[in-house]
């Protein structure tokens, strides 16, 4: 039984147009925002496969930048997140590739984000219905499930500790 709650059916509350190409992507961006403790000064973003093909019509770029800026899935400012990014002095660059060798899914992105002395490289995939997955942090493979109403700050804190311990 994959669906467990009435809110898995009625929800999430989100900006359109696609739960997989928009809502799930905001969560990936927000995860990175929490990981580096705020808006990145610079973000290099690679969109793969279906994201690279249809990002413009689905606002996948806006969704990811919105998340990096700390916005939630239902934040109506996401529509204008390119302008918001400029305003907050965030530099970003998008690249487009056919398929991702690290993770086999059509809705995949890898983001390298820098803030202060901290740089992180995160791989995320949006797996449908607003759910997404972080599959890589700094070249280490992980499996972190994100839903749109997750407490991302708490989740990040937990994995931050685990990975730091592993690296020692």
């Amino acid at each position: 039984m994959e669906f467990q709650s009435c809110f898995d059916i009625i929800g999430p509350i989100m900006v359109g147009p696609s739960s997989s190409h928009t809502a799930g992507v905001v969560s990936i961006g927000k995860f990175i925002h929490e990981w580096i403790g705020g808006c990145p000064e610079k973000a290099d973003i690679v969109f793969y496969d279906s994201f690279a093909e249809t990002y413009q019509g689905h606002g996948t770029d806006k969704a990811l930048l919105g998340g990096l800026l700390g916005m939630d899935t239902d934040d109506s400012r996401i529509k204008h997140s390119l302008e918001w990014a400029k305003e907050s002095g965030m530099q970003y660059e998008f690249d487009f590739e056919d398929s991702c060798i690290q993770f086999d899914h059509p809705n995949t992105t890898i983001v390298t984000a820098k803030r202060g002395g901290c740089t992180v490289k995160v791989g995320g995939a949006s797996i449908g219905g607003g759910l997404s997955k972080i599959f890589m942090i700094n070249d280490e493979m992980v499996d972190i499930r994100l839903s749109t109403d997750e407490d991302l700050a708490a989740l990040v804190k937990q994995y931050h500790q685990e990975l730091t311990i592993n690296q020692k």
Binding site: I9, I10, S19, Q56
Partner: protein
């Protein structure tokens, strides 16, 4: 408590002397540990977001970023307000509100996925039409959302609800089936009649493919949401009249699953078949990708 089929659902309603919506509420409270008041409040929050999307969509004639949708909800609203709609005010209003929601979705407005963003127009369309034409209060509509989610919960766990997994029959088909059962329950029909309406609606959309032009949730998705509301009302009327689906609802859902599994990949949201690969569909895709390259 756990509900795994429509048959179990009808039995639970009889045993507990509750409506489908009340069973969902009870099950959610049991599973989540939250009290019913909190859960009702959370659902109300979703209803209010739906209403905001309906209102902003009805007043907005602007195009979506792609340029291939937008402005039709305003047209529908003007037409319906003249009182000349052939399909009457229930379906007419539902079509307008559904169009408004799905156009808002295409413009990156805030919507509620019901059960997905691509099928987000149908339930709000039907519910706010009942609100306008029959005076149903918001608290009734919130209970309607519990009915809808219970029906969707069974469909989602026995089959699928996304176009990528099972074609449009799984997405607009499921949403329409949920809406049909919800109308019946709100109109005072029995749980068995609500489930029967769900079956009738789903049967009429069985086999519907997911073939979005340029891969966007716009053409034909928006208008399929709109027409889905009229199928929901028709199925509800049939069921309230006592007309029964010859195939029981659980078997219809099972058939939807099999059809979805057999459906080729080209017709499951990949934009590699159907309307997406018509002459016009391909031209739209080329135009949009030229724009991308020129950025």
């Amino acid at each position: 408590m756990e509900i795994q089929s429509m048959t179990e659902l009808i039995e639970a309603c009889q045993r507990e002397q509750k409506t489908i919506g009340e069973i969902m509420l009870m099950m959610e409270a049991e599973k989540s540990g939250k009290d019913e008041e909190t859960i009702i409040h959370m659902m109300e929050e979703r209803l209010i977001k739906m209403k905001e999307a309906v209102d902003s969509g009805t007043a907005d004639a602007s195009a979506a970023p792609s340029g291939i949708s937008g402005g039709d909800a305003v047209k529908m609203s003007n037409y319906i307000s003249q009182g000349k709609a052939l399909s009457g005010s229930y379906i007419g209003d539902a079509m307008t509100f559904s169009m408004a929601t799905s156009e808002s979705n295409a413009r990156m407005g805030v919507i509620v996925a019901t059960p997905t963003a691509g099928a987000a127009g149908i339930l709000p369309g039907v519910l706010f039409s009942l609100h306008k034409n029959d005076g149903y209060a918001y608290k009734d509509l919130v209970m309607g959302l519990f009915t809808a989610s219970m029906l969707g919960y069974v469909i989602a766990n026995r089959s699928f609800i996304s176009g990528a997994a099972g074609g449009c029959q799984a997405e607009v088909g499921s949403a329409t089936a949920m809406a049909a059962g919800t109308i019946v329950e709100l109109k005072g029909g029995t749980p068995a009649q609500a489930v029967n309406a769900t079956a009738l609606a789903m049967k009429s959309l069985l086999g519907l493919v997911c073939d979005p032009v340029a891969g966007l949730v716009e053409v034909p998705c928006i208008k399929r949401n709109v027409i889905g509301t009229s199928i929901a009302f028709s199925a509800a009327d049939l069921s309230l009249a006592g007309v029964e689906s010859r195939i029981p609802c659980d078997e219809v859902i099972e058939a939807m699953y099999r059809v979805g599994k057999e459906m080729p990949r080209t017709l499951k949201e990949t934009a590699l078949g159907g309307l997406a690969t018509t002459e016009t569909g391909k031209r739209v895709k080329d135009q949009l990708s030229c724009r991308k390259k020129n950025l």
